[in-house]
Each structure stands twice: as C-alpha cells, then as structure tokens.
C-alpha cells in the first residue's frame, strides 16, 4: 500500500512539472512520515487519510513561490503575444507589403500558449504544436510556390507524431505509420504519373502488419505470397498489356489468408455487414480502376468502411457526428482539391472537425 501511495504521489508531482530532485526529496519525506505512522500502529487506510490525497498534496505543493513566479512570467508572455503578433503583422504589411502571408504571425498566439503551458511532457507539447507547424508549412508552400498538392500530405505529421510518441515498440510504430507512408508514397508516385501501378505501395500496409505474426513461418509465407503476387502482376502487366486480368494474381495472398483461416482484414470484431461492404468496395475500386482509370480518387470509397462502422455502433448522435467529421472533411478536402483544383481553399474543410466538436460539446453540456 505504501509503495502504491508513494508511486501515485510521484506521478502527480511529475504531472505538475516538479524537478526530479524536488520529487525525490518530497517522496523521501513522505516515505519517512509513512514509516513514522506505521510505528505509531496506524493502519494503511488511516495513514493515507492522515497524510492526504496525493492529488491534493501535489496541488498544494504547487503553491510555492518559485513555481508561482514561473507561471506568472509565462502568463505575461501569453498575454502579450496578441499585441506582439499585431505589431509584427502591421510592420510586415505596411513596411514590406506582406499582409499576406504576414497574417501567419497570428499563429504565434496559440503556439506561445502551448509552449508556455508546456509541462515535462515534451511529447505532448510537440503533438499539440504539430497542427500549427503543419499548417505553417502547408500555407508557406501553398502561397509561396503554389504547391498545395501534394504539400497537404504534411498534415500527416500530426497523426505520425502522435504515433511516434505513443508507441514504444519499433514494429508497433512502423505498423501504425505504414498507412501514412503508403498514402504519401502513392501521391508522390502519382505526381510523376505513376498512380498506376503506384497504388501497389498500399501492399506495404498488410506486408508490415504481417510482421507482427507470432509464427515466423506464417509471416514468411504471407510475405512470399505478397511478393510473388506483386512480381507476377507487374510481369504480366508489362510483358503482355493485360492489366485487366493481371490483378487475379492477388488471389494468391487471399488464398493464403483463407488457408490460415485468418481472413479478417485485421479488424477485430468486424461485423458481417462491414465485411461484405469491404469486399464490395474492393471489387468496385479495382473494377472502376481498370475500366475508367479512377485509381487516384476512388480510394475515397474506402472511407465508407469506418463511416458505416461509426453509424452502426450504439453511440449517441453527437458522438457519431464528431467521429464522422474527419471523414467528411477528408472527402470534401480531396474532392475540392483534386477534382476542382482548389487546394488553396480545400484545407478549410478540416475546420469542420473542431467546429463539429465545439458545437456538439455545447449540446451535450
């Protein structure tokens, strides 16, 4: 019990950004006081009540003079930043006629607030800063060089940073990152005119996923089936121009999965309806791809899979709306950009996500 109590206290102190040496000193003191209470014959429950709730202790210890001063200084910086941004904006505008993209200096306001509020959790700060970093890079390239597409891929930095910070296993990180790597590679290849057969990079996702297989022999067979299928597909397609039939070679990894009895698309607990939808969508994607060369944008239909899963679950309407907003935003963003060529405006579709969250939060409360 004592160990747990001290561990909880330590955790609360770490959350409040205490120095390591300070934490050790406080923990030593509580360790001694706990021992003294035990010597007095007190029970664990009474001691914990006597010494106090770790959360409350950490809060009260925060009230110290030095920490107060730091918070005060940080608060001043955050408070002054809107004025600094405004001054910089006017200087850039009047002196250098850089009203646009000079308005980007206003990003300093939230960025300063995040940095000033930063605790010891540096990863958390980086994750919080990433949307601003990505937006600044995106707008910089967009307005500066008119490279809206494929610069929008920079927004992948947001989930990628979160994945890199959250996962501890290298393979776990790689598995979670593969979809972003695949989409990025796909669009880069597409920019050079290789949407087809560039879409093959999406095989990276199951190929890396299979590396998590416990049995090495199974993983080897899976990987071999993918490599053979891809090699055969390219060989058949390039040697004889029969791409339309060549995709049949991909039945090889499907057969391997069926033989292992694990054909579940890597999604645990997937309902029968979703499985059928997935198969139908794959068929539509491949069919339309070969018939009408729709590889580069028809992938959007795969978003219907998580959308259907969200609609089908038992959560309330507000939660569903919040969960659906990223998909709606992605579709709007991509269609406006890709089909309409409005990459410079389409990014605003992503504002739907926080807007939906704010509006529905208000309703819930």
């Amino acid at each position: 019990m004592k160990k747990e109590y001290l561990a909880k206290l330590k955790q609360k102190l770490e959350e409040k950004d205490f120095d390591k040496s300070e934490i050790n000193d406080i923990i030593d003191d509580y360790d001694r006081m706990y021992d003294d209470a035990l010597l007095k014959g007190m029970e664990d429950a009474d001691i914990m009540n006597f010494l106090g709730d770790p959360d409350r202790i950490a809060f009260d210890l925060c009230d110290g003079k030095i920490r107060k001063q730091n918070r005060k200084n940080n608060g001043k910086i955050v408070a002054i930043m809107p004025f600094v941004s405004l001054i910089l904006f006017f200087i850039m505008g009047y002196a250098f006629h850089l009203w646009h993209p000079g308005w980007l200096v206003f990003l300093l306001i939230p960025v300063t607030a995040i940095i000033a509020g930063a605790r010891k959790d540096k990863n958390g700060t980086l994750i919080a800063l990433m949307p601003f970093i990505a937006t600044a890079i995106y707008l910089g390239f967009g307005f500066g060089m008119n490279l809206w597409h494929p610069t929008w891929l920079i927004f992948f930095l947001i989930p990628v940073t979160a994945i890199c910070s959250g996962q501890t296993r290298l393979l776990g990180k790689l598995t979670a990152l593969t979809p972003f790597i695949a989409v990025t590679a796909f669009f880069i290849l597409g920019e050079y005119g290789y949407y087809h057969p560039g879409w093959l990079v999406f095989f990276l996702i199951p190929m890396v996923g299979v590396l998590n297989e416990k049995h090495v022999w199974k993983a080897v067979i899976y990987e071999a089936s993918f490599v053979i299928a891809i090699a055969l597909y390219l060989a058949i397609g390039y040697l004889n121009p029969i791409w339309a039939q060549a995709w049949l070679v991909f039945l090889l990894p499907v057969i391997v999965s069926l033989l292992f009895g694990e054909y579940n698309f890597q999604i645990d607990g997937m309902s029968v309806g979703i499985r059928i939808l997935t198969i139908v969508l794959i068929v539509i994607y491949v069919l339309f791809g070969f018939l009408f060369q729709t590889w580069s944008y028809l992938w959007l239909i795969f978003l219907l899979i998580p959308v259907a899963a969200i609609i089908g679950n038992g959560k309330g309407m507000q939660k569903k709306l919040v969960a659906l907003s990223p998909f709606v935003a992605t579709v709007a963003f991509f269609l406006l950009g890709y089909l309409g060529g409005y990459w410079q405006y389409s990014w605003m579709a992503f504002l739907l996500i926080p807007m939906t969250a704010i509006l529905t939060k208000g309703k819930e409360e």
């Binding site: 003191d29 021992d35 009540n49 010494l51």
Partner: protein, 106 residues
C-alpha cells in the same frame, strides 16, 4: 466553513509556533496539530516545505533506532521574526473581533 486561505494562514502561524519551542520532524508536526485543529485536508507538509523554501526553517537529519533517519525542522532567525509578526497581527485581529462582538452584545 472557514475560508481555506485564512485557515492556511493560521496553520502557518501554528507550525511556526510549535517549531519555535523545539525542533520537530514532519509526522510529529502533523500529529501534534491534528490533536487540536481539524487538518483533514492535510496541507501541513506543503506548508512546512514552503516555509523552509522561504528560509523560515532549516533542516537536519538525525538517525533513529527504528527505521529511516528523520528530517527535523528548526526555526531560523527569519522564521522567529515572521512568527512575531504573525502574532502581532493575530492579537490585533482578535482584539478587533472581540471589540465588534462586544459592541454587538451591547
């Protein structure tokens, strides 16, 4: 219910008073105070620590026959000065309150 900041101020004075009589270790201070004052919200250790940071106490460690060595709190000259200041304010406050209460009784 008594205002928590007000209560903290009073506890701060009591802690200074107790340790001005003799050096004490953390548990001892909490135990002694809880005999006479309701200190369920356990703000005593943070107060002890803050007063030490402010230079009103200093620490020394003394080994014991049982368990780990104890950290003792000893009042400093600055702490004694602060205690005198607190006491003066406290007396003045109590006298003021007494006068108001007596006036109400009349």
């Amino acid at each position: 219910m008594m205002n928590s900041q007000f209560k903290k101020g009073i506890i701060e004075m009591c802690v200074l008073e107790l340790i001005s009589h003799r050096d004490m270790y953390g548990f001892e201070v909490i135990e002694r105070l809880s005999e006479d004052i309701d200190v369920n919200d356990n703000t005593i250790y943070p107060i002890l620590r803050r007063l030490t940071e402010q230079g009103y106490f200093d620490n020394y460690v003394e080994s014991t026959s049982m368990g780990a060595p104890r950290k003792y709190f000893r009042i400093t000259e600055k702490g004694s000065g602060k205690l005198t200041e607190y006491k003066t304010e406290w007396d003045k406050f109590l006298k003021g309150v007494s006068r108001i209460m007596e006036e109400k009784a009349k």
